[in-house]
């Protein structure tokens, strides 16, 4: 009997939830704000779907009803990707240890 590929994806999904559970509990509370901004950035990997959607049309009709939604989603996701990673970087750069000489 063949297993539906959906079951494989479901397995990945369930296991990832567990990974997420343990990884996030180990995040230090002082970094919870960067955690939120970086999860924000990575969830914008949804741009993958947006790219497929916007490249779906043929050569002579770039803008079709479905690709326009794709393009809009690309803009939204791109704001998030760049904004999310950069603001996380900016925050993390501020976390410094005590200077020894002081």
């Amino acid at each position: 009997m063949e297993i539906d590929p959906f079951i494989f994806r479901l397995s990945i999904f369930i296991l990832s939830i567990f990974i997420g559970y343990y990884v996030v509990w180990s995040v230090t509370p002082s970094l919870h704000t960067p955690l939120m901004s970086v999860t924000n950035a990575i969830s914008s990997v949804i741009i993958v779907g947006a790219i497929i959607a916007s490249l779906s049309s043929s050569e002579n009709a770039v803008f079709t009803s479905s690709s326009i939604y794709g393009f809009l989603a690309i803009i939204l996701a791109a704001v998030n990707i760049f904004g999310g990673f950069l603001v996380t970087q900016r925050m993390l750069a501020m976390y410094k240890k005590k200077k020894k000489d002081k």
Binding site: V24, L31, T33, L35, A41, I42, S43, A53
Partner: protein, 464 residues
Amino acid sequence: MSANLSAILYLVSGVLFILALRGLSSPETSRQGNLFGIIGMIIAISVTFLSVGNFSSGFVYVLIFLAIGGSIGAFIAYKIPMTAMPELVAGFHSLVGLAAVFVAISAFINPEAFNLGTPGNIKLASLIEMAIGAAVGAITFSGSIIAFLKLQGIMSGAPITFKGQHLLNALLLISIFILTYYLCSAQSSRLFWILIAISFLIGFLIIIPIGGADMPVVISMLNSYSGWAAAGIGFTLENTALIITGALVGSSGAILSYIMCKGMNRSFFNVILGGWGGSEQSTNNKNKEQRPVKSGNADDAAFLMKNASSVIIVPGYGMAVAQAQHALREMVDTLKKNGIKVSYAIHPVAGRMPGHMNVLLAEANVPYDEVFELEEINNDFANADVAFVIGANDVTNPVAKTDPQSPIYGMPVLDVEKCKSVLFVKRSLSPGYAGIDNDLFYRENTLMLFADAKKMTEDITKNL
């Protein structure tokens, strides 16, 4: 690019995202973690381009729109003040939600592009996944917009409640399931639009009854929703990177909501059903008899601190509002020069989002190893000479430990009153967001400093 190879590369980028979160377990590894995240994203995007393999004029537009969105994002990331992080994160959540909705719509209109069948004859499983992705995405979008407006102060933070609210929400939620069921058999685009419209409405309705003070929970919850929306779309697109990320973000947001609820000793449902705080404030004030408080000025505060050997600072949202974090650091520097030991105590729900105070202190160049969480530092109050409470209120209220009648009874609080003396910077005696009078104000060892947090801190520094 072969389907197997791209599937493996998507898996790689999923793993890199896991490492990105793993890096956040300590500030030293966090920057490297962020880099992993960026690499994962670059891999995911490049693989998508290569596997679609369509480098026609559409590709140019993709790059153009990517650049437009990217520059807007980069601009915001550099300009945003650290005090506005909660608003920024709420705003970003709404974008993820809306992007999920758009991708789902696009897949519904043109399923061939995604290998999901033909319009009107979409695979059943894909249709369900699409509906879930779109519905959760829409809820995330409208919910985050409301959260953003409340945080920005454009909308009042007071909870908006009306009769039959919970019934209405429940009915709408049930209607989503019914619509999904009919959508699967009829495949009608009209049903799909109605589904999205109702989801937008639900997002709006579930956030309006939640008070501005519960925002840490709301933001975490919306964080979680944005993850589940991404996962739903991931199933539709059969994309591993998206499924892994969705699960990670979903559980991350859920854990943060749990931590925030625990920090307030409230159940998740209690917060979601809303309607707490804000309104009781006025009635509470009237019934209160005037109790004596000791108030002092910057000179008194400076005198107390100069003669102390250890000082614990308790910052709260008021510090963020007054932008007092830099002035505070200067004061602490002066104290340290006088050989006084200074540490910071942070309550889990201080501020408007998880970890908000830590970021603000980090911005003001406070080394992170001087900043402690509630459990780490709570025993030290008894041995400290001075507690300097700046902009925090309810999280220091001893009533939470003593009065079972109090709405905040059982909430973990900082044992500030155990210090030899407490300096409490506040503009007036008004209660905090919970609408409860703070017993600490009237204690023998408390000295109230009535002033703007920033100005008071600066004055104290001058007097030291």
